[in-house]
């Protein structure tokens, strides 16, 4: 009975969050649509080129439907989107969803590799620093974390390119190879971008892990575990880490969201044709359908990550109920 009530409450919670996600996406959509139209810049002028005449630009605006009143443009866009049509790119002339799909693999690959590396190294560093708090390891890791946290991604990127791609010639400078072209080339092209993007997240996760673990390590039950002869491994992994898990998980969730910004820079520096580059180019060109679609989908993803993190809390801490 209690179990059934728990499941019902969970389903209600998920439904409530899904509805709020849809509301958030709708608001993002309306806001982005208006913001783009009110911001200066004209895709028709960019399409026509630098030496274009007023007549040429006017002709293109007319053809693109940009002269229609804003409410009509908005309703047309919403109506098409409800039917699953996110529109065509003004420049590429191809469906936006097709363009996004083409760019998904590089971004997902980069994000997953970065998160895997960041969580593995960040949590390990954090736990190690907490276990040896105040010692040499702690101070060294704290210094490395501060460095990783404060140096911008593009500086790290250029540094890595210079040493590992130009001087040593071990790794490619730029570009991306699809997984279908072979795991080796795929991985080689992602090593430097992953390292550049991970450093900041490793630092972030390590600092929070250290603080949370340190707090738990001073609890009475840890002293009890030590008195009962628990090994350091069992104490840290089974007792400390599990109890410090909620804030660490929160930080990982936040990192995922922050990564969207980092991916844009990393993809630009390493010339990776992912979603980040797609959005940057679209913003430069005022390619409205692409910007709108990516931002809506990103906001949906953001909400989904938050929901996943919230649900994951119940696995770590059974006291948490929805």
């Amino acid at each position: 009975m209690e179990y059934e009530e728990g499941v019902k409450a969970l389903v209600t919670y998920i439904l409530r969050r899904t509805m709020s996600a849809i509301a958030v996406m709708a608001m993002v959509g309306a806001f982005v649509f208006l913001l783009l139209r009110l911001a200066p810049g004209d895709p028709a002028a960019i399409l026509a080129g630098r030496a274009a005449t007023t007549e040429m630009i006017a002709g293109i605006r007319q053809q693109l439907g940009l002269n229609d009143p804003l409410p009509i443009q908005f309703m047309r866009w919403v109506w098409d989107m409800l039917g699953g049509d996110f529109g065509n790119s003004i420049f590429a002339g191809r469906p936006v969803l097709e363009l996004i799909a083409q760019r998904l693999e590089p971004t997902v690959s980069l994000s997953l590799l970065t998160m895997t590396l960041s969580v593995t190294v960040g949590v390990s560093f954090g736990v190690l620093a907490a276990w040896r708090a105040g010692g040499l390891i702690d101070r060294t890791l704290t210094a490395i974390s501060a460095l990783g946290y404060s140096v911008p991604v593009f500086v790290i990127g250029y540094f890595l390119i210079y040493f590992f791609a130009i001087q040593a010639r071990w790794l490619p400078v730029q570009g991306y190879k699809l997984i279908a072209d072979g795991l080796g080339p795929w991985f080689m092209h992602l090593i430097l971008p992953t390292l550049a993007l991970s450093l900041g997240f490793v630092a972030f996760i390590a600092r929070v892990t250290r603080a949370s673990t340190l707090e738990v390590l001073t609890e009475d039950y840890m002293r009890t575990a030590a008195a009962k002869g628990a090994s350091p491994y069992a104490m840290v992994v089974h007792h400390a880490l599990k109890n410090a898990g909620v804030p660490i998980l929160t930080v990982i969730g936040i990192s995922f969201a922050y990564m969207i910004g980092g991916v844009v820079l990393t993809e630009t520096v390493f010339n990776i044709p992912g979603i980040g580059r797609l959005v940057v180019d679209a913003i430069n060109n005022r390619d409205y359908p692409i910007i709108q679609s990516v931002l809506i989908l990103t906001s949906g993803l953001y909400v989904l990550i938050n929901l996943t993190v919230d649900l994951a809390y119940t696995l770590i801490d059974p006291r948490i109920r929805y």
Binding site: T53, M56, L99, Y162, V173, G182, P273
Partner: protein
């Protein structure tokens, strides 16, 4: 069979090596005749739809032209085999050469040429003039077409060979029948390269394959004329938006050619023994300020003349192109290296850099502290630098100059506003165009001086327009040179625009890539190049 620890280690090392480095080495072996170029972001594929340079490069790759200019700027037949003109100079008959075919295998016909001429005439000033004067454009048979004129017209071949603005690319009739405001969707031409649609990654890379069915002319290649021989199998244009990464990719041999590296990275390129900077555009770009004729203070000719005195081109060159070997000055309305370049009416301001005189002229113009707003493109470093320098120069003589920083796309929209600065208008913006294109007063909108119908800034001089109208009817080059002097005299009196400097934009290439075609203009053909 037992395996020793040492053998296992060897095996592991070999596997690791196979996993990592050879992927790149193998790729290089397979793609020995593949050239990778960083040309920019090709987004629009229809060369009549846009004036964007990169789209014209694309046009040069996949389309062919009826005529092409050689290195002496003389029009030479390209797709045309023979042509004749009637004694009264009114009927031009063109016969296409044999073996011309589209990339889909169908033959090129005279009807394709007629449709392309009409589409070109919708948008290009040279084409518009040709259509305006023509009484008839029609195909006579599969290989022959005729252009008949109302009056004798001597400029026909020069217009058809236009290599500035939009060259006359010949498209399939079904493509050319689309209005020029609608983009062509098929990238099928009859040129020396075929567009490989299956490998196109919008925003990332585009691929061109050698057109094995293309039959080049027998003459040696000379700029846009002669045999367009393709010596490589494939050319890939990578869109690397970050210039530092692009140079790093060139250094690491991941790309072979970089169209326009930023000037601050020239030293790094020159220091690399495997790389070379090469100015493939012989005449470079003329940088100039468009001035708003409709609003104060530049609605007064004296204020415009003040700008001519103020601008010190050598100082501007320092901020646009710091290495003096990649630039110079331009004082002739017709550019620095064209057939019509001259020094008429330039003596009075030629040296520029005279702020006292400029200040005096602003006073004579009745300048009363009105805001001079300079639209400043922050995403174009040369334009940004030149705008800032111009603002500083104006401020030094007491002009209330202000910068309005914005992206080029914002500038493109803002420059449409003809109103005063207070109502969202503007006073000046800096732009550039190929110095070579200044030799064509009909094909370049820069020269229009018909007030509100002219290009941005809306310069107005009836006298100049009357002279410009004569250009098409002048019979000989010598007569045209004389007319050019007259036009220039008038232009610098009313000051239609102000030149800031002339800058060459060298390309960077790996030394294995040789025999690239140099041209007077800024368009970069890809035939003839070799990868050693």
């Amino acid at each position: 069979m037992e395996t020793s620890r040492r053998e296992l280690m060897k095996l592991g090392l070999a596997a690791g090596a196979t996993f990592s480095m050879p992927a790149m080495l193998r790729a290089q072996t397979q793609e020995l005749r593949t050239v990778r170029m960083v040309m920019g972001d090709l987004q629009v594929f229809d060369p009549f739809f846009t004036t964007s340079d990169i789209t014209q490069y694309h046009g040069l790759a996949i389309y062919d032209t009826l005529f092409g200019l050689d290195s002496n700027l003389v029009a030479q037949p390209q797709m045309v085999d023979k042509w004749t003109v009637s004694e009264d100079q009114r009927i031009y008959t063109f016969e296409l050469r044999d073996s011309l075919s589209w990339h889909d295998g169908t033959p090129v016909t005279a009807a394709d040429c007629v449709a392309s001429l009409r589409r070109w005439g919708e948008v290009d000033p040279a084409g518009q003039l040709l259509l305006e004067r023509a009484a008839e454009i029609s195909s006579k048979d599969e290989k022959t077409f005729v252009i008949g004129f109302k009056e004798p017209f001597g400029l026909v071949i020069d217009l058809l060979a236009n290599a500035a603005g939009r060259p006359l690319f010949i498209m399939r009739e079904q493509d050319a029948k689309r209005p020029a405001t609608e983009q062509v969707t098929a990238n099928i031409g009859s040129g020396p390269f075929k567009f490989n649609a299956s490998l196109a990654k919008p925003g990332s890379s585009v691929t061109y394959d050698r057109n094995e069915n293309y039959v080049p002319r027998h003459e040696p290649a000379s700029e846009f004329s002669g045999g367009k021989v393709v010596n490589v199998d494939r050319v890939i244009w990578d869109n690397i938006s970050d210039p530092q990464t692009a140079v790093a990719a060139l250094q690491a041999s991941e790309v072979d050619f970089l169209l326009q590296p930023p000037a601050d990275l020239y030293p790094a390129i020159e220091a690399d023994p495997d790389l070379e900077l090469q100015a493939l555009g012989k005449s470079g770009s003329a940088f100039y300020a468009r001035i708003n004729f409709l609003q104060k203070p530049f609605n007064n000719v004296k204020a415009r003349q003040a700008l001519l005195h103020l601008v010190d081109q050598e100082a501007f060159l320092q901020v646009v192109s710091p290495d003096p070997k990649y630039g110079g000055t331009v004082t002739s309305l017709f550019g620095s290296r064209t057939a019509y370049s001259n020094d008429e009416n330039t003596g009075w301001y030629k040296k520029g850099g005279n702020p006292e005189k400029a200040k005096l002229l602003f006073e004579e113009a009745g300048y009363a502290g009105e805001k001079v707003l300079i639209l400043t493109p922050t995403d174009w470093s040369e334009g940004n630098n030149a705008s800032q320098f111009l603002a500083a120069s104006l401020q030094k003589i007491g002009v209330n100059a202000e910068l309005a920083p914005m992206t080029w796309s914002e500038l493109s929209a803002r420059r449409e506003n003809k109103g005063p600065v207070e109502d969202g208008g503007w006073s000046i913006f800096v732009t550039n165009q190929s110095d070579f294109s200044l030799g064509n007063p009909i094909g370049s909108i820069f020269f229009l001086a018909n007030g509100e119908k002219a290009w941005y800034g809306w310069p107005k001089s009836d006298e100049f327009e009357a002279l410009r109208a004569k250009w098409a009817d002048v019979g000989t080059t010598e007569q045209r040179k004389e007319l050019a002097r007259e036009m220039q005299r008038v232009w610098w009196d009313f000051v239609g625009a102000v030149f800031l400097c002339r800058a060459l934009s060298p390309s960077a290439r790996r030394k294995e890539l040789t025999d690239l075609i140099s041209t007077q203009g800024e368009y970069r053909p890809m035939w003839n190049m070799k990868k050693v």
